[in-house]
Amino acid sequence: MSRWILDHLWLIPAVPFAVSLVILSLPNGRHKSAAVLAVAGQIAALVMSFFAFLPTLETPGFRFVQNFTWFTFGDHALRLGWLVDPLAAVMLMMITLVGLCIFVFSTGYMAGDKNFVRFFAYLSFFSGAMLGLVISNSLLLLFICWELVGLASYLLIGFWMGRPSAAAAAKKAFVTTRIGDLGFFLGLLWLYGRSGTLLFYDGGDGCLEKAGLTMLGASATFIALLIFCGAMGKSGQFPLHVWLPDAMEGPTPVSALIHAATMVAAGVFLVARAYPIFSLGAINGVTPSLMVVVWIGVITALMAALIAIAQADIKRILAYSTISQLGLMMVSLGVGGVAAGMMHLLAHGFFKALLFLGAGSVIHGCHGEQDIRKMGGLRWLMPITFSTYAIGMMTLSGVPLFFSGGWTKEEIQHVTAHWPASRLPYYILLIGVVLTALYMTRQIIYVFFGDRRVASQHAHESPRVMTMPLIALAICAILFSIVLTPAWPWLHDYLTGTAAGVELVRLIQPTLFLSLVLVGAGFALGIWMYRKAGVQDRQRPADTDPLELAQSQLFRFLENKMWIDELYARTIIAFSWMSARLSDWMDRHFWDRLVRGFGGIGQLLGIFTAGIDERGINAGVDETTVGTRGLGRLISAAHSGQIQTYLSVIAIGALALLLFYAWLA
């Protein structure tokens, strides 16, 4: 079975694609069949991914490559390929699993939306593209899937295109990521130019293998940076992160699937996949490109965490936390902990999906209200949501020992601590941990504790079809930690391709206590700050945020996302405006004048030649015509119009000819 799947890897992305096509062809009313189809397709993908996953378990460092020629130009062919190695396999599992949960969830969440069918078509399309992305063995194929994923995200963010905000957000996301992808594409071309192949692994001469890498040489740094641009775009790293919060305009399941669990992780995955290029020629694990990755990650993590504190929209908070977590992963990749980064990516996939779905459930319960200050006291109203959400929150903030997030964070701290270049990222990460705990606490308090407020008056628990996935994801989030513990670092070794061993001693580590302290501090701070935030008298939104009372300037700064959007508006967008205006002006006033000038010259010439015609040529022509007419009259006198005359003339001519010959003879 696995053998067969490996030989037909293309089926894994193909099935969801096909499903999405089928669904698109359905009439608009067929909700049930659409949902059934989509879920079935996802299950099929899950099963196949599982069978593709199995062989990677048996042999550590397993790698299966299947290349084929796309087309041939001139004498050399452009080849694409499929790839299964631990990295791809775990991604497959994660995507299909989370995806399945979210599909099921959205059957409940989107019920009653009139574009239900279209939604599921897009969703399947997305999952197909994403699966293709992770198992592609060629940078080009990866790029194609990458763009398809971008398209899917665009379609889904703008799913409610009725809302102008949604449309704007979709456009913003598309354009912003496109900026990154431009860099990515340039890097791709450059890479192709240098190494002559885009296959990652090609039996020794792929671009990630000795032969290909040696061909890169010094340009590796730039190529790596260009590729990282793409990663920044997708994973919302610092300069290009602005689209991700706005992407929350899309339906919540979309935010969960695309903008938390899978797509935004694609950037991290890309860096992990192309890691050999980044780390080419590293002096004890440090290269300029990795340096950039680290710092970008650090900045992103810190900034996002800070902004998250001051947001009021439940989904935006989660979005910013996603950004900061992604920054975290980037840092870990940069400092050389690829395994750690991927572990966190997977764990994050689970619990962030969980959190988003929880948020979705909350919003659903509060009839579409998203402002946490209008909620509150949902603790008893939606217990399942609350408990699962709490688990997710604790996992996110990295409570050690029981929750997967904790282990991965500790792993990251561990690798960061041993980064030779600088200690600064490590400390910033520590701060980040505290901040994470802080804003999650704030959110929990606002949403679930305290008294009910406007939105939560008539709140109710969501239907089973929505709570089931929550529970499933919560269980995943907890159980997942088993394979993460240092005692049995199975996943780590699985990713690095070494056999895992069990040592309970390693279970207790200094970082454990450290993170305990930090997370505790974060919780404590949060509870202390927002202790009064929950209890307000009813019917009124919570008045000003405690932080705002304390540090209004800082709060404003954070609430407005550090004015980064405004900054862009003032600088980049303004600049493009200016240039557009300028070229418009040029067109109107300069080029037009020029053209008119040429026209004038033409006119002048025309007048001149016309004069010549009148005086010179026409006279001659007239004379000729007069002559001709005279001649014509002369000749036409002979034309009596009597056919028979002509005939007889011909006959006479013939006779004359005859006589002439007779006279000759």
């Binding site: 009259r633 036409s636 034309h639 009596s640 119009g641 009597q642 056919i643 028979q644 005939l647 006959a651």
Partner: protein
């Protein structure tokens, strides 16, 4: 006693002259057409006669030319008669004496 080529040539010459007579002496367009057709037939007769009395050839050129000229004559007759009808519609006559609009 077998006929010589001359006999056929004389016959066709006679036919031709009769056609000419018809074409020259009659005033009716259709008569002229008939005359022309007769001249054409005479020409065909000449072709075939020369082929028959000349050296044998493959393909039989004279016959071929005769066939083609017959086909063309048919086309010519069709168009000519159509012209006659059209002219008749316009001028209510087919007498060629009255059709001299082109006179200079």
């Amino acid at each position: 006693m077998t006929p010589t080529l001359q006999l056929f040539l004389v016959i066709s010459a006679a036919l031709f002259s009769i056609g000419l007579l018809a074409a020259l002496s009659r005033r009716h367009a259709i008569f002229i057409l008939i005359g022309i057709e007769m001249m054409l037939a005479a020409a065909n007769l000449n072709f075939v006669a020369f082929w028959r009395f000349g050296p044998q050839t493959q393909p039989p050129i004279g016959v071929m030319i005769a066939i083609f000229s017959i086909a063309i004559a048919a086309a010519e007759a069709a168009v000519g008669l159509a012209l006659v009808i059209a002219v008749y519609r316009h001028y209510r006559t087919t007498n060629v004496d009255h059709l001299n609009q082109l006179k200079g």
